[in-house]
Point group: C2
Amino acid sequence: MNNYVHDIPTKICFGKGSISYLKQSLQQFGNRVLMTYGGGSVKKSGLYDEILKILNDEFEIFELSGIEPNPRISSVIKGVEICKENDIDVILAVGGGSTIDCSKAIACGVYYEGDDLWDMITHYEKDRKALPLIDILTLSATGSEYDNSAVISNPDTNEKIGAVLTFPSVSICDPTYTFSVSKYQTASGSIDIMSHIMEGYFSVTDDSDLYDGIAETVLKSVIKNMPIALEQPDNYSARANLMADASIACSGIPEYGKEVGSWPCHAMEHELSAYYDITHGVGLAILTPRWMRHIVEKDPSCKWRFVRFARNVWGLEGNDEDELVKAGIDALEDFFRKSGVPMSLSELNIDETNFKAMAAHANRNGKLERGFVPIREEDIEAIYTACL
Amino acid sequence: MNNYVHDIPTKICFGKGSISYLKQSLQQFGNRVLMTYGGGSVKKSGLYDEILKILNDEFEIFELSGIEPNPRISSVIKGVEICKENDIDVILAVGGGSTIDCSKAIACGVYYEGDDLWDMITHYEKDRKALPLIDILTLSATGSEYDNSAVISNPDTNEKIGAVLTFPSVSICDPTYTFSVSKYQTASGSIDIMSHIMEGYFSVTDDSDLYDGIAETVLKSVIKNMPIALEQPDNYSARANLMADASIACSGIPEYGKEVGSWPCHAMEHELSAYYDITHGVGLAILTPRWMRHIVEKDPSCKWRFVRFARNVWGLEGNDEDELVKAGIDALEDFFRKSGVPMSLSELNIDETNFKAMAAHANRNGKLERGFVPIREEDIEAIYTACL
């Protein structure tokens, strides 16, 4: 069992009606608020009006709207300008991972001293100074509400980078806000949750019992609850479990005690969505089973982990290890397919044109040559090709 | 799934050598340190000398030693005096739950404005002001390193009270410090961990999938790792898993989303150790299977939960629910017995003399009449009697 440091200061107010914590949460930091959100869904759902009603005259509210599903550095730049011009005390992000990620970058960007905010995204710095950030979550997916990282895109350079920035101070997680999430977004969000677990679950470490058990618990919870949420969008239990699953999945906790992986599927997917602006969870659904089959063939010594995956996550039985490995991966692919997301790149009109460049960039600094089963550019190209 | 608030600010530095975080952790608060510890074990193990060597001339160190296994209000009073007289900046607790609990009470006691510190223990107050507290954990049991509560005893009144006080700022959790823990203490600490889970696991809520799964994971981890640690005291994996299990078990996390229980076994055990000063985990081992059998008989509608316990925790199979219920409870009792702890009150020379008074006090304010299966004084007396 490896060493780890657990240090997550975020307070989570979870459950129906937890917006009752909003006012006191903001008040501790001041009354000049930048409210950030994406498209019109927060207005359509009535949440926007509900927030304004709660905050009424006690707060001065500024707004940044239109944050993209893969949030861009241009939105970060806009948000930083608003904060600086208006002496903002606290940021209130209303939305899913994209809005929260963009808001984290804005929160840190206010104190960033360099000339180019894209440099802040591409360079790690410990304990960045940041404006306080409070979020109201409306999508169960990225776990940005309970971690300190953010994924920001730069269309000029075809880059999509995960940066370590700042934790939210308070995350308000009301599952009823996800009742209106479409089937497509529910599925791709759930697949993202599962991917966050699987990236760390497939590890060379075999003795982190508590955290492997937590990882398997999250996977089993999504496997149970996603189909219910797809069938019954307003099933509170299902939506609540998915929301709780999302927060813990990307918190780092399921990886504690284990050799930290290279998160290969995320690295490969970030290239797909940087080049083609596809939905993150869909890219992960397409890539993950192909990545699994590729590494099992490349290095059969990793099979023990897939046997455990088949047994403990999918409840599969039998003693033939090769069959269990295959059945576990097939079960995962089948589960993704049944959720209704596209399961090949061809369906998204993506061909092999950029595979070489994407593979090189996914493996920049040789980062995918570390981890559970190291892969190189030729492996990545082969995995992309298997996804066609 | 019920609402909850997750708000645990404690940083955990986990693993071999994590004492390397000690100096920087203390420095953020100042250089006048009250070091608290229990009997001589921290000196015998060399940890005391190791700490002094690390802190050498940069810190001024005051000491409170001799903190009891069931820490007493008299030790709290002594500690508060030392802090006030010497303008202490930060408390460093070195030991297990008793030392950390006592130190939490000292940390809050410094700012307590009443005349009698026992009143602070018996009366709840939100967000108490407290001195910063850092701990170095030497026993996997109470989880005091990752919660804000403390159990303090008052021999004058035969009371043992759990109070909500303050979180540690940093907990240094190095499993190697538990290599020297005796079989008896390893067993009773592990039983305490399991009890913290079971008190919340037996709940009327049936849809908190993530947190029920975490609860079952912790139980399975203890069931796997305690016997290894008893056989091989220096097995790092086993000691590490038990240490991680302990912190999460009492954090409240395994109960999130669930109807909060009344923790009946802890309430009944606190009476036992208040009257007879027995080891907490041993009292829990004796009480828990008897409590289970009593409530299953009293209210058979609770059986569904014991069926789940038998299947998911003990891996038992079969379709006869009554048999599963019995087999699950038997498996637990057998597991406790095999750990070598006494499994009856008679073995501890305890008879029925005080059962009536203890039952009344355990159920003060009718607290055990809420929860999974409500019990009254006559039930508690019957459970104590079954433990003879």
